[in-house]
Symmetry: C2
DNA sequence: TCAATAGTGTCTATCAGACACTATTAC
DNA sequence: GTAATAGTGTCTGATAGACACTATTGA
């Protein structure tokens, strides 16, 4: 009701940070399927010194939330996100030791494999399986819970929106796209049914090319079609790409 | 990466405010159907003095975001929300005149009709149709866009989750529940199909009672069933009710 | 030839929309 | 009785899962 003088009270407002849950696809081997990974940063200060945490930091100056999230992401992984959406803002009073903090958290998808060279070489950064972050020892603050929530949201979204291709390169086979879905969902999908549903959704286009050099029938290569899905409510401050 | 000293930099972080888009159901008359309404507050300070704005204000001290949203809601409407979820955090650098501001916005459903007496008597508060806020003259800041986004999210959610009953009282008929859905969606629904789908979802329970005094066959009264829908990802900091 | 994956076709159960039909009240 | 809404039943078209089947490559 009375918030006109918000600016003057800046000092009385809790500090604000931006973090990002970054998902990437780790290529599968012959035996094990592809898996979803995420980068964490080792904290070198108190509180939670030495524990793994989400990449992020304070929101400075006059940068937008989204820009800040992308900047911290680039700093720690050297990658530009192919998808960056706001996840949730955590502002509880019991988020862990240390001062009161409000965190605006984003989630991102990046392309991993083809640009290993771009990854920063920093012993303070490591990649972990997204489906078992708690196994790696407790994360700093409430970050374990945040990762779980991000994964739940990603799993829900992958079921109705065309986002999985953003874990892959420009051109991809349907098997690769299915592998991405399987890695996100953590379960096998029927190849025939997957093909049918994903083609019916209209999110992919046949390039006419095929992938050669495999020891079986060469699969077709597809691209993501630029189409607006009316059933998806877009991120209001998201990049309109 | 380096966010350990967020607390010490508190002063460098933009101010933080909490606002809420509150939805209520305005009972329909014989001619026109029920409609979705929301309360707005007239600003009495610059910037945007005299314009209508969402109820809200700065986030003070050590209250959680959710608690702050509920408090501002109660101040302006005198009502307690039956549903309160986080909507989005707006932190762009071009949100309107005045200083830089980050707004964590919630959306809420309240019960309107039965407690008219509880509504605050303040000329600075008025209720508007949710589907045509822009008609009422431009709102302050980017609040028109926020209302549009909240309505889009509510419409999406009402299609797959049992939330519409939170606009009604403890007991309700299927026609009332359908009227709530129709008010949210802005379109008519087939009574027979609505009955079938909503009963199949399992979100309602037959109380065994009927509503008498109507000039037709008396309808049964239902209550919201307390059941967890596994297809809905819950608000991570939401009230576990 | 065989192994392996790509890709097609089909059956079935489920579900949403359309809509005809019956039931029960006030008047 | 009539008007009006409550509530049931049924048909149809779209869709997802299960799975049999054909196609095309490397070795």
């Amino acid at each position: 009701m009375d918030w006109a003088n918000v600016a003057e009270r800046a000092g009385s407002t809790p500090p604000l940070a931006v973090s990002t849950v970054v998902f990437a696809l780790r290529q599968g081997t012959e035996d094990e399927p592809a898996s979803l990974r995420l980068p964490l940063v080792r904290r070198d200060r108190e509180p939670y010194r030495g524990r793994w945490a989400l990449p992020g930091g304070p929101l400075r100056g006059d940068t937008s939330l989204r820009t800040a999230a992308a900047a911290y992401l680039e700093q720690t992984t050297g990658l530009a996100p192919t998808l960056l959406e706001q996840l949730y803002t955590f502002g509880g009073t019991d988020r862990g030791e240390g001062a009161r903090l409000v965190s605006v958290v984003y989630w991102a998808l990046v392309r991993f494999e083809e640009s290993d060279a771009a990854l920063v070489d920093d012993p303070g950064v490591a990649w972990f399986r997204a489906d078992s972050v708690e196994v790696t020892g407790a994360l700093a603050f409430d970050h374990s819970r945040i990762v779980d929530y991000a994964l739940a949201r990603l799993r829900a979204k992958v079921a109705y929106a065309d986002v999985a291709h953003r874990l892959l390169g420009e051109r991809f086979t349907l098997a690769q796209l299915r592998g991405a879905h399987e890695a996100v969902l953590g379960q096998r999908l029927d190849p025939a049914n997957f093909r049918r549903t994903v083609k019916a959704r209209g999110g992919i286009e046949d390039t006419g090319e095929v992938l050669t050099g495999v020891r079986n029938r060469p699969p077709r290569l597809y691209t993501a079609a630029s189409h607006r899905d009316p059933s998806v409510v877009p991120d209001p401050e998201g990049d309109p790409t």
